[in-house]
């Protein structure tokens, strides 16, 4: 066993893929000599050269559009968008092009777009967002949001074998996270299978990406108070593993959904509906959503911290949900 970070495992996963499949190549801003803003691709250009680890100008729209074209022609491009906030510039290409190709033309578009989401580093309103909601309502795009180093690798391996466009979220706060792994890569993980991060009987807490760690931390605190929370890590939002979520909801009768992003119009609402539609009769209380307030993410650390859901807020919300 060895200790590696989320970043390191992502890098090794990309490295193995580049070795395995000559059709795979990386493109993005400053991913070569700089290694990407968060260092994920550091060193890869040395081994694979500038053709397969392509630094690009600041042109997110064309970047994604070109990757789509290359993917349709038979390449397997992996694009890095430096911060998820910038993906707003490529919405047209993803929504009107990538997402529609297979349905309309029957052609495959094996494209992976990796991007760091999330707050917690004081980067301000345009470098901290979790914008998966722009894509979870668009059929044709896979949305993947790993919460641990092992999952990041396992899901990225699968993404790299997918024949559909995949939006791959890497939460900024997870990059330095360490995990014990055997030599080599962890096993690939199928899309659409949530992980029961912790089993429990009293309440179900559903989260993804950066919020899973908060939910797990909250569960430890709750356990000390005699509350056994089941924590579900969705792993992928599209496809969504409704069955696992619903089973947990049925079992515990009480559900808290945790989302990093403004409360209104988020993906938690979709999950709530799915549970509701399938387990209406088993709920002992209304499903709750814990999310950011409906405002941009401020830069000041105290304000930002007040916006982002955290373990303490989860504990408070769960206790209130349980009527305690």
């Amino acid at each position: 066993m060895r200790q590696v970070t989320y970043t390191q495992l992502l890098r090794e996963t990309l490295e193995a893929a580049l070795r395995r499949d000559p059709r795979i190549f990386l493109m993005g801003e400053d991913i070569g000599a700089y290694g990407g803003a968060f260092g994920v691709t550091r060193g890869l250009v040395k081994e694979f050269g500038t053709e397969r680890v392509r630094d690009t100008p600041i042109s997110e729209q064309a970047l994604v559009g070109m990757a789509i074209g290359a993917a349709v022609a038979g390449s397997r491009p992996v694009v890095e968008i430096m911060f998820m906030d910038f993906i707003t510039l490529a919405v047209d290409q993803l929504v009107n092009m990538a997402a529609k190709l297979h349905y309309i033309y029957g052609v495959s578009c094996p494209l992976v777009v990796r991007t760091p989401n999330g707050g917690g580093r004081g980067y301000g309103a345009t470098h901290s967002q979790s914008l998966e909601r722009l894509f979870t309502g668009v059929p044709g795009i896979r949305v993947v949001a790993p919460a641990t180093p092992l999952d990041a690798s396992g899901l990225l391996q699968t993404a790299l074998l997918e024949n559909n466009p995949v939006l791959f979220l890497e939460h900024k706060l997870l990059y330095p996270l360490r995990a014990e792994v055997p030599e080599g890569l962890p096993p690939p993980l199928p899309f659409g299978q949530a992980r029961i991060a912790r089993a429990g009987t009293d309440v179900t807490v559903v989260a993804w990406s950066g919020m899973v760690a908060q939910a797990e931390r909250a569960a430890v605190t709750l356990a000390a108070q005699g509350v056994e929370a089941e924590v579900i890590d969705l792993r992928t939002l599209a496809p969504l593993d409704t069955a696992t979520v619903v089973a947990a909801a049925r079992k515990t009768g009480r559900v808290l959904l945790v989302e990093e992003g403004p409360r209104t119009g988020g993906f938690a609402a979709e999950i709530a509906c799915r549970i509701f539609e399938a387990a209406y009769d088993c709920l002992d209380a209304p499903i709750r959503r814990l999310a950011c307030p409906d405002c941009p993410i401020p830069a000041a650390r105290n304000l930002e911290a007040a916006c982002l859901p955290n373990a303490e807020a989860i504990v408070t919300e769960v206790l209130s949900l349980l009527g305690r």
Binding site: V72, A73, K100
Partner: protein, 314 residues
């Protein structure tokens, strides 16, 4: 593609588009379509300069591009009729068809949307070491989209084998070029990417073919993209429902004098490639083909409703 085939293809496009306008008028087809009457020489001139491994991307006004590459008018028409036999099984409509076997990589409903897509095809070709060259069709209006700029810069930087082929037909919908572009010519924009460019009479099939052949050589030699501006004129309305109040009748009348098909026919006769009888025979054949296409489309089954939501993912 021999010259008589070029003539036949232009005619196919013309008669196909005239049929489309008639069918709309008669209410036999619906939705939307943008016809390219008057622009046939660009599409066929390009197709005549390409090799089988090459690829083409199109825009909203793409019937001509597709037919020039040898699309089956029946399946194309069936798509407009929303039939299961259409190129996109009725799912795409006029702006969204693809047939990679003839190198046609699809139209696009988003003005400028397929420009980076074309460069991506070229990137793949280059990385794979293929001899493919990609032609990216777009209009004068599309050259005002940001993604045009981003893509030309990237394609130039990376010397991708792509030809950016602008059909400057004088208008983007109702907007004349001089109120859409701050520079007099689309080709002027090449300077921003240090790209070679040229302007061609887009109603002269042979001139287009020649320019594309040269740009293709340039790309094949690893020298990267070319920006080609083909000046032409859209003799039809922008799309259904265009009252054309933004231009005067005499402008169109004059433009009809310069239309490419009669002109090419005259060249064929002058150069004794074909005599009047041969041209007539060709016309008759194309006419029958288009009628057959309409029959095929109209007799084709509708797509299955039960399948409407299938195939979103590969």
């Amino acid at each position: 593609m021999d010259l008589l085939t070029c003539y036949a293809r232009m005619l196919t496009i013309r008669l196909f588009e005239e049929a489309v306008e008639r069918l709309f008028h008669e209410g036999r087809i619906g939705g939307t379509a943008h016809t390219c009457i008057g622009q046939e020489a660009v599409a066929v001139g390009v197709a005549a300069a390409l090799q089988p491994q090459d690829a083409v991307t199109s825009n909203h006004r793409g019937h001509g591009h597709f037919l020039a590459l040898g699309a089956d008018p029946g399946r194309l028409m069936a798509e407009l009729f929303g039939r299961a036999t259409g190129y996109s099984r009725g799912r795409g409509g006029s702006q969204m068809m693809m047939d990679v076997r003839c190198g046609f990589y699809g139209g696009n409903g988003i003005t400028g949307g397929s420009i980076p897509f074309a460069a991506g095809l070229a990137l793949e070709a280059k990385m794979r070491g293929s001899s493919r060259v990609v032609v990216c069709f777009f209009g004068d209006g599309a050259s005002n989209q940001g993604v045009f700029h981003e893509t030309l810069n990237l394609a130039a930087l990376w010397k991708l084998p792509v030809i950016f082929l602008c059909e400057n037909n004088g208008y983007a919908m109702s907007t004349p070029v001089k109120r859409g572009l701050a520079c007099p010519q689309v080709a002027d924009r090449a300077a921003a990417y240090h790209l070679p460019s040229s302007r061609v009479d887009g109603n002269d099939l042979l001139a287009v073919r020649q320019a594309v052949a040269e740009a293709r050589q340039h790309a094949r030699a690893g020298q990267g993209p070319t920006l080609l501006e083909c000046r032409t004129y859209r003799l039809s309305g922008h799309s259904r429902g265009d009252r054309r109040e933004y231009r005067q009748a005499h402008e169109e009348t004059e433009a009809w004098q310069r239309e490419p098909i009669l002109r090419f026919a005259a060249q064929l006769r002058d150069q004794q490639v074909a005599d009047e009888a041969a041209l007539r025979a060709c016309q008759a054949e194309v006419r029958q083909q288009i009628e057959a296409a309409i029959r095929f489309a109209e007799e084709s089954p509708l797509p299955e409703i039960a399948d409407v939501a299938t195939g979103v993912y590969a």
